[in-house]
Structures are given as structure tokens and as C-alpha cells.
Amino acid sequence: MTDETGPSLAPALEMRGITKRYPGVVANDGINLQVRPGEIHALLGENGAGKTTLMNVLYGLATPDEGEILLDGKVVTISGPSDAIARGINMVHQHFMLVPVLTVAENILLGDETMANRIFLDRREAHRRIIELGRRFGFEIDPEAKVGSLSVGWQQRVEILKALYRNARILVLDEPTAVLTPQETDEIFGVLRRLAAEGHSIVFISHKLYEVLEIADRITVIRRGRVVGERLPSATDEDDLAALMVGREVQLTVDRGESHPAGVVLEVAGLEVRDDRGQPAVRGVDLEVRAGEIFGIAGVAGNGQDELVEAIVGLRKPAAGSVRLAGKDVTGHSPRMMNEDAVAYVPADRHRFGLILSFPLADNLVLTSYYRSPYARGIVRDPRAIQRDAVTSIERYDIRTPSATVRASTLSGGNQQKAVVAREFDRDLKLLVLDQPTRGLDVGSIEFIHHQVIAKRDAGTAVLLVSAELDEVLEMSDRIGVMFEGRIVAVVDGRTADKNAVGLLMATGGEERPPVPAATA
């Protein structure tokens, strides 16, 4: 690894005074950034700080309003991704940019194809190079596997292979570890270190402080579109970084208080559920959630959590097993019936499930109760009652919106989520099911939602919390179930759980074997 002086004088990459404005937001406000050859440079910032935007500018996906980009000391204009790639810049995006129905090889080749002649691909040569490249970085991958059938960790590797295949000099990774287990994270870190040692420059984006401290050679912190500080890992700590990032002293843990579990509310026994393709996704889950407790489910995304939750709330028919609510068998009940039984559900994907973006906020606030009094009499709706209650909710849940009549799509992500929460929390509940309730939100919104959840728990609601953020599960839950390949492989106490132990369970299911290689998909 390089020290401050570095082997080369000119930075491999320099961004000067980058400003990028979006309607209503200045996403980047005169940002300066220098990345040296062979350096792992971390970009740290809250949600919405402007990290992705800055990298989109670098990658030609966004055009800056001001500022310039220098590569090896020369000013360049990057007109688009292909331009960026041609200059050796590559990016692993925050959201996977893989085509699920294409094979690993096709995904890697895409855009920079190895050709047999002017028209046709040279698949054999491509396969050879992919396998060879994989070996060099310590994993072996089947180029013919369909990407959609790979686990998230392996998809992440495909993303990295994609960049390596293009001989990236500068590699940007936007929150590459968000969906990985600690063990997978370690493996990816290994790959990154090897790359840096070979002279690649790496920009590593994250808002996980300990990760940044572990991997980075240098850290740039941005807040609200501005650079607020540069640190060396050796000269800082988590509290310092957090304060920089958020702009005030923050309490890094939630005060969840004492829980007082009462009778069993949710009882799941031998539940089996199939996914959209008809494959078993949940394979015999037993769990109990009591009134007044938060039961967290930890697990790497794609291990059956979504299917489990959907089966509980009635969106998916279980293949076997039973769901009981306060002693009553509710297996296979419809979402409407569950809703009537005082079950609320905050879905993971608020754009897909939680909201109808083209509808007014008021309509979204009654999306699950529109048919009930006072919002409707018989089949006739009462717009005035809907409007009235919307105004109340907006106030109570601090939804920042010009009015209740604007379309939900015009709200910011955090406020959209608050709208969902307002709708689902605003009545007496037996059971509250939360799937990734704070994904993509800023600290303030997260805090707000966490407090609301705890309040619900304290009011005697049983809470089932699913999150891919292990930290969130650890901070919030009274008990934690670890989900692996469709099973709950362990249930641990939320207050005493060890992060690494849970991470290992998430990665291996508790068995003494290495993670399954993807090569056989």
C-alpha cells in the first residue's frame, strides 16, 4: 500500500470543483477529489450526500454543471460511459447493473465484446479469459451460468470481473458491501487489495465506518454535496468520521429500551413457500413472535426472507405449513383479511408495493383502508374525509410535502417511506411486519422510523423485522432469527448477539463448509 507521498506525483484521477444541480437539490457543490495510483480511496457520506452523483459525473452518466476532471494530470471531458471505459474508468454500481437472463459471460462481454470477426462473438476465447481472470483473483466461475440464478455475493464478483475484463485502471465501487455478509465482504476486500497492489486506483463508497477504516488508504467525507474533510485511517476513528458525516455528534446505537414480551401473537409452523419460478424458497420455517417484542430476521438477501414475509401477510400462498395469529389459523388468508385482522406490513420495495406513485398522497394514505368508513360509504368514496385524515397524518408523521394532493412521486424517498409508515402504523395493531423499513433513508428518517417501531412495540404490538442491514437487526431486535437457504438456522438474543457470529451463520447456515461456489448453477 501507498503512503502519503505515493509512488507517482500526478494523481491518477483528480476532480476539481465539481458541481451538479438537480431540481431542488445541489447534489454536488464544488467537490474536489484526488485519487493516486494504487490507492484505495474511500468516499464516505450519508444517504443523499452526493457520492453516487459524483461518481456518475466521473463515469459520464451525469454531466456536471461546473468543474473539471483530470486523468494523469490532463483535463478530459467524459461524454458517456463508453468514453469513461475507454479511459480505463470502471464502475461497480450501487444497484447491480447485470442482466439476469443473460449468462455470466454475456454480461461480462456486454459493451466490450471479444469478437471472432466483425459480426460474431468469440465465445470460446471470452470464456477462457473469464475463467483465467477469475482464477487470478481467487475464484472460479462458470461463464455459462445465468446471472439471475447466482447469489448476490457471486453477482458482486461478476460485477468486479466485468470491470477487470475491461482492464480498469480506475475502479469505482459504489457500496459494494451493502448486501454482503461480513465473510463475503472480507473476500471482496481481498480482491480489492490485490488490485491496488497491481497499481489500480480504487474509489470505494460506503457509509459503514468500520469498513472504511479497514480498507481505505485515504478517506474523503462529503456531506450535503460538499467535501467536509479528508482523513487517513490511521488518524481517525468511528466517532470522528460519524460526526463529520452527519455534521453533529450522533448516537450510533438506538436506545431500544426494555421489552416486555407477552403472549404469542404470530406462530409460524413448518412453513414452506415457493418463489416466482416455483422453486422452494422457504423450506420449513418455525417461529414465534410475542406481543411487545421485536423479532429480527437476519440473512443475506435472497435467502427466502421476502417469500416468508409475503406468505405471512397473505401475498403468497404457502406450499405447506401454517400461520397462526393470536391462536387463530390464518394460513392462506388474503392480504385484505390479514389487514382486517390488525396486521400491518411495510414492504421492502415502496415503489413497487407500498405506493402508487402517480396517485395523490392522500389516496396513498388510505391505500389499505379506502373501502372502510369514514373513507367510503358503501361503494361511494368520501373525498373530504380522506383529505381530512391525510392532513392529520402529514402533521403527525412529519411528512414534508406541499400538500396532500401532490402525487406521491414528487416526495423524497424518506418522506415516501414516512407516508407508508403513517398509513400502516396509524391504528391498533396485533402484528407489524417490516421488510427493510429504512432502506435508502438518511439518518434522520431512520431515527424517526425506529422510534415509531419501538413505540409500537411498547404498545404491545408484535413486530417482525426483516433487514439486510445486519446492524439494523442487531440494534433493534429483542430476538434474532438467522435465515439461510430458506430455513431459520438459529435464534439468538438480540442484546447479546455477536456480530461476527451472526454474520457467519448468515453466510454458512452454521455448518462447517465454505460458501457454495456459483460454478455449478
Binding site: 389516496d363 361511494v380 373525498p383 406541499p402 401532490v406
Partner: protein
């Protein structure tokens, strides 16, 4: 962090004066119609020059448009006839618009129109001598039900197996033509008639309420538009339908039943299209020949698009296209312009509407509404798109 609240567009809108609002709503449609007529004039003159070899008349386009207007509005009878032409377009436009609201493209209004008329004629003939109120109501209901069945089938197939409604309704259009031929030349045929034709519907015919041809279907159409609007925007059922159209996943999450709603929507849409056929049969033709056909089904799509799927917007849109149809006869008489010019005009109107963002940019129009859209981006023409 949430961005500071931007000025509320809704409030801003309500503060604007009535004139400004009228301008905002009407500027683009008016401009679009004018541009289309200009383009139509170019087509007329161009084809005169290049194609027909007639003596060139630089004012032919004016003659044509004057005839179009005169044919549609030249006399009280003409105006009433225009309304008669518009009536099935209102029902058909409502049928298509209603489907759009649920994210469904009912291109089968054509077939549902025929089958609806068939239902009306069967019952109408059977009750030709019954007391008029009974006969009319029964025949109308028969037409609605028949059209509804023809809409139910693709809705059901979509809900159950995911068969895309665009393809299945197109196929059903062909089947409807054959069904009509089989019945009109078979069991429904007047035995003594040399050519296939059914008996008259007698007392089941719609009463004439205005002028010589203005049947009660005209009033029914206005009522239907209001009813559909009410249904869509004032009832829980309409809310569910719009929800399914805008986001089927969220609708399911919210406890609605998208599959059931798809079936119901297609059935209702089919019933409206069936009512279009019924209104023509009971209001205009009173019996059915084997050549009973129509372009209403396809014109209805244009009407619904022009109305931006708004049930109340369907009324003026249908009258616009109905006027063109009504005036086309005189246009042929006075200017020798083929009736197909009307289709050209319809298409250009829609084209300019779709391109209105460009128009607005070119003409630097601000503060005006534009564009036509269905409820949601149309899903791919796939069989697997059922929610």
C-alpha cells in the same frame, strides 16, 4: 434530508385565472386540430396535383372543409345526425378509456360492438311486439350482456393464463364477424328475404327524441359518460381499478384483487362497447344485415386517446370525430374527397397530440397541459404480464 418544500403546483394552479386555465387546457388541443387541418389541406392539394390529374383547384381544401362543417352542422337535422354518429363513439370511447384506466388495452371494442348488436337484435326481434318499454330495456340489457361476455373472455384468459388482451381481443374480433355471419345467415335470417337480414326489432327500437333521427341513445351516452366518471373517481371500485392500472403490485398489496378486477374491467369495457353496438342497432339500423359492420371499434381507440382516457373528455372527443364522420358524406359530394381523409385527420390529430411536447417547445408555449397517456406505460406485449 428532505429538500425544502417547493411551491405547491396544485395551489399555484388554482390561483390562476379562469382564462389562463382555459388556455392551459385548450391551447394544445386547439392548436393540434388546426395543425391537422393544415396538414390535411396539404394532403388534399398534394394528391390533387400528383395523383388525380383533375383540373387543379387551389381552393379544393376549403371546399372540402366547408362541406365537412356544413355536412355536420349545416342544419338542425345535420347537427342531430352528428350526435347520432357520435353516440356509439361515446360508448366505444368509454369502453376503451375504461380499459386504459385499468392498464388494459381493449382493442376488441370492434368485436364487442358486433356481439352487443347481435344480442340486442336477438332479443329485440323476439320482443318486437312486446310493450315498448319492456322490449327496449330487455334488448338493451341483452346487448350489454352480450358485449360483456365478449369482453369477459379475454379478461378471464388474461387473469387465468396471462394471455395478453391485445392479442386475444384481436382474435375475438374475427370470431365475432364469423359469429354474426353464421347467425344472420342462419337462425336469425328472415326466411323470405333473398339476402341475409334479420327481422326488424319493432317496439324495441329506441324512441326518437330529437328531430328525425335523434334517438334516445344520445341521452344514454351522456348519462353513461357521467356514470363512468362517477364510477372511476367517486367509488371504491373505481379506485381499485385505477390502482390496478397504475400499479398492480401495490393494488395486490393493498388487498385488492387484480385478477378479479381485470376480469371485471374487461367485462365492463365489453359491456360498454356492446352498448355502442346496441345503440346503433336499436337506434339506427333496427335490423341486422350480414354486412352489419363497423369502424366504431377502432375509432373508439382514437376517441379514448384524444380524451386522455377521461370519461368526460370522451364526450367532446367523440363529437369531434362524429362530426367528421357526419360531414364526410357532403365532403365527398361537394369536393370528391374520399372519406378516408377523415382517418388521416384523426391520425394527425393524435400524432400532434403525442408530439405536443415538441410543439410546445417549438412554439414556446408555457403553462399549458399537453400529451396523451394511458394510465401506466403499456406493458410489453407478453403473455406473462398478468399480475
Amino acid at each position: 434530508m428532505s429538500a425544502p418544500p417547493s411551491p405547491a403546483p396544485a395551489q399555484a394552479r388554482s390561483r390562476r385565472s379562469l382564462g389562463a386555465r382555459a388556455w392551459a387546457v385548450l391551447a394544445v388541443p386547439a392548436l393540434v386540430v388546426i395543425l391537422s387541418l393544415l396538414l390535411g389541406a396539404v394532403v388534399i392539394l398534394g394528391s390533387e396535383l400528383i395523383v388525380t390529374g383533375r383540373k387543379f383547384d387551389p381552393w379544393l381544401w376549403f371546399t372540402a372543409y366547408a362541406a365537412l362543417v356544413q355536412g355536420a352542422y349545416g342544419s338542425t337535422d345535420a347537427v342531430i345526425q352528428t350526435l347520432v354518429y357520435s353516440t356509439p363513439l361515446v360508448f366505444g370511447g368509454l369502453a376503451v378509456a375504461f380499459g386504459f384506466k385499468a392498464g388494459l388495452f381493449n382493442i376488441g371494442a370492434q368485436g364487442q360492438f358486433l356481439v352487443g348488436a347481435l344480442g340486442a337484435v336477438i332479443v329485440g326481434v323476439a320482443l318486437a311486439d312486446a310493450p315498448a318499454p319492456i322490449a327496449i330495456v330487455a334488448a338493451t340489457i341483452a346487448g350489454i350482456v352480450a358485449g360483456g361476455i365478449w369482453g369477459f373472455v379475454p379478461g378471464f384468459l388474461k387473469a387465468v393464463s396471462g394471455a395478453h388482451e391485445v392479442v386475444s381481443t384481436i382474435m375475438l374480433n374475427y370470431v365475432a364477424v364469423q359469429l354474426l355471419a353464421a347467425l344472420v345467415s342462419g337462425p336469425l335470417k328472415v326466411p323470405k328475404s333473398p339476402s341475409p337480414v334479420t327481422y326488424d326489432v319493432g317496439n324495441a327500437a329506441f324512441p326518437i327524441v330529437i328531430g328525425a333521427t335523434g334517438h334516445i341513445g344520445i341521452i344514454l351516452a351522456i348519462v353513461a359518460a357521467g356514470f363512468v366518471w362517477w364510477l372511476l373517481f367517486r367509488t371504491t371500485w373505481g379506485f381499485e381499478i385505477r390502482s390496478v392500472g397504475a400499479n398492480p403490485d401495490a393494488a395486490r398489496y393493498a388487498g385488492m384483487r387484480p385478477k378479479l378486477l381485470i376480469v371485471a374491467t374487461m367485462t365492463f369495457s365489453g359491456a360498454l362497447a356492446g352498448l355502442a353496438g346496441t345503440s346503433v342497432l336499436l337506434g339506427v339500423s333496427h335490423s341486422m344485415t350480414s354486412s352489419f359492420g363497423t369502424t366504431v371499434g377502432f375509432d373508439s381507440i382514437a376517441v379514448a386517446l384524444l380524451a386522455r382516457s377521461n370519461p368526460l373528455g370522451v364526450l367532446p372527443a367523440a363529437v369531434l370525430f362524429g362530426s367528421m364522420r357526419a360531414g364526410a358524406g357532403l365532403m365527398q359530394i361537394n369536393a370528391g374527397i374520399p372519406v378516408e381523409l377523415v382517418d388521416v385527420l384523426q391520425a394527425t390529430i393524435l400524432l400532434f397530440l403525442v408530439a405536443s411536447p415538441v410543439l410546445r417547445r417549438l412554439l414556446r408555449l408555457r403553462n399549458v397541459e399537453a400529451g396523451i397517456t394511458t394510465a401506466a406505460p403499456s406493458p410489453g406485449l407478453g403473455a406473462g404480464t398478468a399480475p
